[in-house]
Amino acid sequence: MASKVVRKKDLTLLERMYIPEIVKGMRLTMSQMFKPKFTVQYPEDKFVPSASFRGRPVLVEENGTERCVACGLCSRVCPALAIEVQASETELNKERYPVKFEINMLRCILCGFCEEVCPEEAIIMSDEYRLVFENQKDALFGKDKLLVPIEKVQARLDFLRSHR
């Protein structure tokens, strides 16, 4: 059985000419031309992410030393096998410390599993997203490139606490 199109309100002749509609459309389009633009002009203005942004992983440095106890959980959970941890004895008041902590940024997929699994809140996804390397060796980030003082990542730590 063929279906019939039932319009609740048939268009008047003026409406069917579509000219008023076109004029209304053009008024909307032209008014949008004068509204503010959303483009971020990249090299001059950079996008500043909020605390919930998942950038590159960094080690938190508190009181001059890293919080990490070299438990190896982040290395085990990393889906891209990007983290390598080498533990060793230490005088400080913790079990062990990482003598070598290396993340291969070419493998890291910025998933954040290492941050989720860390029992010490020692590795955090920061808000840095600009990663440029000129050769493969530069992409292996050791402790020197990963340590970041706690003030810089406090926003992320607060965000994680509030959403635990």
Binding site: I19, I22, G25, M26, L28, T29, M30, Q32, M33, K35, P36, K37, F38, T39, Q41
Partner: protein, 336 residues
């Protein structure tokens, strides 16, 4: 000696036309970006002004791929037809009043043929060849369909275009474009004297130039690019330029026939020297064409596309009767 004057005019208008076509692409990208709350290309020069140069260089350096089974001669010929036809139409459009230079009266149009507007209609019919041949010679189902659709669309709307112009011709009493412009002096522009003819002509020119809302033949989601699928490099560039050149031509014709051409109603009263008046009139023509072009661009980004059957429906069942009724009304109006 007599050949220098047309030669100078040809070179001048050709260069201006080519530059405007190239920059129109940039203007469209910028305006469409502003409408969509973003900035268009602004990196290449100050405010992106060298972008067309970058585009043209890129197109020249791209590899020119011709499908193995395509008809090489026609494949190369088709975009040339489109572009040449689009540019040739400019030969009869008057840019300004006759100016008095070097002791002679120079008309600001390249060729003052006495069939003026008929020449333009004939050339736009030739433009259909460019698209049909490109679709056909590509040896590609989608291009063929796109070419066929486009040519059917252009032919249908040529009828309403021609018939709607008759309203203007009846009032002006002449086919010659410069006399039509002269008859629109003192603000007696034809767009308010024959509004229905104006509207039908504008709609028909959107369809003639394959421009949204009538651009199904080149709509990518519909037809994988339509008639210019198999074109790359400068041949594609030629098609692109031809589309914008067609747009400029259509705007120039609309400005000439309906918006008073180079007429500026109040300029006679200002008491300026003749050469300043002529320059103002040329500028007025340029501004009118520019405004119509802006209208073309904004409409593209405002209205959704017509489906092909809706398009043909409108062309034959709505535009054609409207154009005929317009002739009737104009005739009755003239008799009174």
């Amino acid at each position: 000696m007599d050949i220098i004057e047309p030669l100078v005019k040809i070179v001048f208008i050709f260069l201006i036309n080519l530059t405007t076509v190239a920059y129109l692409v940039l203007v469209e990208r910028r305006v469409s970006a502003f409408i969509q709350n973003r900035i268009g290309p602004n990196r290449v020069g100050p405010a992106g002004l060298f972008q067309p140069v970058a585009d043209i260089v890129k197109l020249f350096l791209k590899e020119d791929i011709v499908p193995k089974a395509a008809n090489k001669f026609v494949h190369s010929l088709a975009p040339l037809i489109s572009l040449v036809v689009a540019m040739a139409t400019f030969a009869v459009i008057p840019f300004g009043n006759s100016i008095h230079l070097f002791g002679r009266d120079i008309k600001l149009m390249i060729a003052d043929v006495n069939v003026g507007i008929l020449y333009i209609l004939a050339l736009s019919s030739l433009g259909v060849y460019g698209i049909t041949l490109s679709g056909w010679s590509s040896n590609n189902k989608y291009s063929l369909l796109g070419g066929l659709r486009s040519s059917a669309q252009m032919i249908s709307y040529e009828l309403s275009m021609g018939l709607s112009i008759i309203g203007v011709l009846m009032i002006a009493g002449t086919l010659q474009l410069d006399k039509i412009v002269e008859s629109q002096a003192h603000g007696m522009w034809y767009f308010w004297r024959t509004p229905m003819s104006f509207i039908t002509f504008v709609v028909a020119s959107f369809a003639e130039t394959n421009r949204l809302p009538f651009d199904l033949p080149e709509a990518e989601p519909e037809l994988v690019g339509g008639y210019h699928t198999e074109y790359s490099g400068m041949k594609f560039g030629l098609f692109f330029l031809a589309e914008y050149a067609n747009m400029i031509t259509a705007s120039a014709i609309i400005a000439t026939l309906y918006l008073g051409g180079w007429q500026l109603p109040f300029v006679g009263h200002l008491g300026l020297p003749d050469i300043a008046v002529s320059l103002l009139q040329i500028a007025a023509f340029g501004i009118k064409v520019g405004l119509v072009l802006l209208f073309f661009i904004v409409i593209r980004w405002t209205i959704p596309r017509f489906r092909y059957d809706q398009l043909m429906n409108i062309g034959w069942k709505v535009m054609l009767p409207l154009a005929l009724v317009n002739i009737l009304i104009t005739g009755i109006g003239l008799l009174w």
